[in-house]
């Protein structure tokens, strides 16, 4: 077992005992990248030099003072949708291929402040639009378990990097399932916290009311440590909530005896791969045998979630992506243009990939005069109903368990020609973005050699319960 295959907790312990150094860990991860990333393509940019410099700084901090944050010296990969000062941030798009931010996203600032080593920027679907990391200017990311298969998306690079030992931790973002679904496909733990828990400042917006930054790691405990660092109010993001953040490690090992877990009937019906259903239900059985109470619940508006999501997300995206016009930064068409409109048209036609253009057009239509009420406004109403479903359910249960994805990882190219099939991959995850609730993917038993994940959903701002249940399951099934 190489250093880069160990978990954060174990490495933090070794660092404190002087058994290893941040430089050794970082070099181990960089070596793994050299060995495997040509195939996996988890990274768009590997920031080797800065990483090693940061590692040395972290080692010096250890020498000076053993009481440094747990993240000190630990390699972390950052999704290329988060701005990193002085380091190219492409968002997986041609339109930002040459964009170097002048500032760090708040979440990036926080991990660096705690001494984490930023090893590179990870591959993703362009602007977070996709479920397979195939819509990337850098080419597709592949599943480390089997490179014939996709890594999921849009944070496929982050999940694959953690799964392959190319990083210990990763930051991802989740607008409709983009942390949880690739985590399920790659067999790692990924949590999307409650909307408002992590500052979105410096997160390149796809759909502002749905986007949320979260953590990807190889254990629930590691995720909790990363969350401790990135959560909390930020005055630069009005939508980040100004409430006291808990210590996510504190309640991690609390007994789950008597805890009420809801199983929504709408999530276990037709369309779900039976192999996934069996493994999720078997995991639920394990929790039940260990004292949890399983309660059947209903989330009746689930069936509208995908349509609701694609109206709201595309509407916001059509506006959020208007700033990429070739005027201030990023790509500008080199073709001849005779006037301003032509420059916009050529720049945006050449600079955006087809999925992004599809969503911009859809969103523009949704917001158009005469259609706004029928689409955008109605979608907002449905969004409230979906939220209410969860409010009702949480009167009876403490958390909800569902599959993370209805299907196993699929082969590269398999769903590329059928956007609707691709959209359905997010069927179990989008409701949480619409309702703002926290959700985490935890791995179950694999099927056909491919990872399977279950999703644990909590009340708003109750990530503790989600982490507690996930950790309990991990402990029960420790290999």
């Amino acid at each position: 077992m190489d250093l880069c295959d160990k978990g954060l907790t174990q490495l933090a312990d070794m660092l404190r005992k002087g058994e290893t150094t941040s430089r050794e860990i970082t070099e181990s991860a960089l070596t793994r990248i050299d060995e495997r990333d040509r195939e996996i393509n988890a990274f768009i940019t590997v920031s080797r030099e800065t990483a090693l410099k940061q590692a040395d700084q972290a080692d010096r901090r250890f020498k000076k003072n053993k009481k440094v944050p747990l993240l000190n010296g630990i390699p972390i990969a950052v999704k290329d949708i988060l701005c990193t000062k002085g380091i190219r941030t492409t968002c997986g798009s041609k339109i930002l291929t040459n964009f170097i931010p002048t500032y760090n996203a708040t979440a990036v600032d926080r991990v660096l402040r705690d001494g984490a080593v930023m090893i590179g920027k990870t591959n993703m679907d362009e602007f977070g639009m996709g479920s397979s990391t195939e819509n990337s200017i850098a080419g597709p990311a592949r599943n480390p378990d089997n490179i014939q298969y996709v890594a999921g998306g849009s944070s496929g690079g982050s999940a694959a990097a953690v799964a392959a030992g190319e990083s210990i931790l990763a930051l991802g973002t989740d607008t409709g399932g983009s942390i949880r679904q690739p985590s399920a496909f790659c067999g790692v733990v990924g949590i999307k916290p409650t909307y408002g828990r992590v500052s979105r400042y410096g997160l390149i917006s796809y759909a502002s009311s749905l986007d949320q930054i979260g953590a990807i790691a190889r254990s629930v405990e590691d995720c909790a440590i990363l969350l401790n660092c990135i959560c909390g109010h930020d005055r630069l993001d009005t939508t980040s909530v100004d409430i006291k953040k808990p210590d996510f490690l504190k309640s991690l090992n609390k007994d789950i005896k008597g805890l009420r877990i809801g199983l929504p009937e709408e999530y276990f019906i037709e369309g779900l791969d039976s192999r996934i259903r069996d493994r999720v239900l078997s995991a639920v059985g394990t929790l039940e045998r260990n004292g949890a109470k399983i309660i059947n619940i209903s989330l009746p508006h689930t069936k509208h979630a995908i349509s609701c999501y694609y109206l709201i997300a595309t509407a916001e995206a059509s506006s959020n992506l208007a700033r990429y016009d070739g005027v201030k930064y990023g790509f500008r068409s080199e073709d001849d243009f005779s006037d301003l409109i032509m420059m916009y048209e050529k720049t945006r036609s050449e600079g955006f990939g087809s999925e992004v253009k599809r969503r911009i057009m859809l969103g523009t239509y949704v917001l158009s005069a005469g259609y706004y009420d029928a689409y955008y406004l109605k979608a907002q109403k449905v969004r409230s109903l979906i939220k209410r479903d969860f409010d009702n359910a949480f009167e009876k249960v403490d958390c909800i368990i569902t599959p993370t994805s209805p299907c196993l990882p699929f082969k590269l190219g398999e769903k590329l020609d059928d956007p609707l099939q691709m959209y359905l991959v997010d069927i179990y995850t989008v409701s949480l973005n619409l309702s703002g609730l926290p959700g985490m993917n935890v791995r179950c038993e694999p099927a056909e050699g491919l990872p399977v994940g279950m999703q644990i959903i909590g009340r708003a701002f109750d990530e503790q319960t989600v982490l507690q249940v996930g950790n309990a399951y991990e402990q029960m099934t420790k290999r």
Binding site: T238, R323, K328, L340, Y372
Partner: protein, 484 residues
């Protein structure tokens, strides 16, 4: 046939907050291009807006001064369109639930009666940057450049209503704009300098036969940078529309641009080409809740408005209405007057001297009262010296001129230039006797009953004394000597 106009303004007012609407950049007019910019106001990927609370308070203040209802819950919306001076590809503005609605501003209508011009809504939005084209300052550059210093400066938009108490004539339009600007300056939320673009208007105008209640198609006119151009544009447009109607045609509902050089309006885009801005609530900003306490606080701290000050000046100081209007046109003048008035008995003389003498000096110097070197205390003392007869009005003007130039107090100037009135009767008598002796013709004419030579003799005396004699007293003395 005679026609009425229906005029509605959309007035944009740049607020004088220290910082921009959604970031910490300073608001500055003269800074070098792009020296007050940051990721937020240049629309960098990932940057997010945070509302400037002060700007929100200013909007509420304007709403209260203009008799609006303040919406307790308000929202920002995105107005989507592409232009290089708009870095995000959308402007953060307000659509549904603006900060203020349903207010009015009282003006004096053409009929001499009070008239309340309806204010439909007041909303807060961010300004765009500025494009600099090759013709302006870039020499022969083939590029246009953009300066984002103005990007995201807070802008208040004040909108009238066609159906509710609109402006009815071009003179009323001017009265409305002047009154609006006056009020906004009084409450100190903007300097409203037209030449700096701090007070800009688009105007909608339609005409209808006098007495008709039907609204005609209207034209929106953009691109006017001064009162004169606004009035010229309205004048031209009203005539154009009347001509169309007179010749049996119909006015198109469209947007027109004013050509300052030719003084005419030209079609810009038709109603069909009107852009679809795809407004929707900005998901980056939460709903703004305005507490009643905040509204009460702003109301309580509201400075006196021009109408209130005018009434006070008439009532407490006995100033004539026309003078009171002039004195309250500008807040700084009004305050100057009030400061002087508290130290001065003869308020009417004071008013008169500010309007006639001080304004003339300011005008000749193209200065304003804020830059005037004469402190109110000194101005009041000068008036008191004149009132008590220690100096004549004519000397007073000389002293004022000197005070204006040097900022010294009147007594010092009188002392230095020995301008004090000659009150010693012996000296005066000696001067008079000398002048009478030198002008026998005039003396004879006076004795024959003519009065004009008295003035002639007085002129001689004033010249001799360099104006330091009290004319009334001299006249009496001349008549007395001749009668003896």
């Amino acid at each position: 046939m005679e026609y009425d106009a229906i005029i509605c303004f959309e007035t944009h007012v740049e607020l004088n907050t220290k910082t921009k609407l959604f970031c910490d950049c300073l608001v500055s007019y003269d800074a070098p291009p792009n020296s007050h910019i940051c990721p937020v106001c240049t629309g960098q990927p990932g940057a997010l807006p945070v509302l400037n609370k002060k700007a929100m308070e200013f909007a509420v203040k304007a709403g209260l001064a203009l008799n609006c209802t303040i919406n307790r819950i308000s929202r920002f919306a995105r107005k989507n369109y592409f232009y290089p001076d708009l870095p995000k590809g959308y402007q953060i503005s307000q659509y549904e639930s603006p900060f203020c609605e349903n207010g009015h501003l009282e003006i004096i209508g053409d009929d001499g009666q009070k008239y309340s011009v309806w204010i439909k809504r007041i909303h807060l939005e961010e300004d765009a940057g500025k494009l600099v084209h090759s013709s302006d300052s870039l020499g022969a550059s083939e590029f246009s450049l953009v300066d984002y210093n103005r990007s995201s400066v807070p802008l208040l938009e004040i909108v009238n209503d066609h159906e509710n108490n609109p402006i009815r004539s071009i003179t009323e339009a001017r009265a409305y704009l002047e009154k609006l600007r006056q009020v906004l300056r009084y409450i100190e939320i903007s300097e409203c300098m037209l030449e700096r673009g701090q007070f800009r208007c688009d105007v909608n105008i339609s005409v209808r036969p006098k007495g008709s209640f039907q609204l005609g198609n209207r034209a929106e006119i953009k691109n006017m940078s001064s009162y004169k151009f606004i009035m010229d544009a309205l004048e031209y447009e009203m005539k154009r529309q009347i001509d169309i109607l007179e010749s049996g045609g119909s006015v198109d509902q469209e947007t027109r641009l004013f050509d300052e050089v030719k003084g005419i309006t030209l079609p810009m885009r038709s109603k069909e080409d009107a852009p679809d801005y795809r407004y929707f609530p900005d998901p980056d900003l939460l709903e703004v809740q305005i507490d009643q306490e905040l509204i009460d606080k702003i109301q309580k701290e509201m400075p006196e408005l021009p109408d209130q000050q005018m009434k006070m000046i008439i009532r407490d100081f006995g100033i004539a209405k026309n003078d009171a209007i002039i004195l309250t046109r500008d807040k700084a003048v009004s305050e100057y007057f009030r400061l002087c008035a508290s130290l001065c008995e003869d308020k009417r003389r004071l008013a008169n001297w500010i309007i006639k003498e001080l304004f003339k000096l300011l005008k000749d110097d193209s200065s304003t009262i804020d830059r005037c070197m004469i402190i109110p205390d000194n101005f009041a003392r000068l008036i008191n010296l004149i009132s008590s007869g220690e100096i004549t009005e004519s000397i007073g003007r000389t002293v004022l001129g000197e005070m204006f130039k040097t900022g010294k107090d009147p007594e010092t100037i009188i002392e230095e230039k020995s301008l004090k009135i000659i009150s010693d009767n012996k000296i005066l008598k000696a001067i008079l006797e000398e002048i009478i002796a030198k002008n026998p013709d005039a003396v004879n004419q006076i004795k024959a009953g003519e009065s004009r030579p008295v003035d002639f003799l007085m002129g001689k005396v004033m010249k001799k004394t360099k104006g330091k004699a009290d004319p009334k007293k001299i006249k009496k003395m001349i008549l007395k000597i001749l009668a003896d």
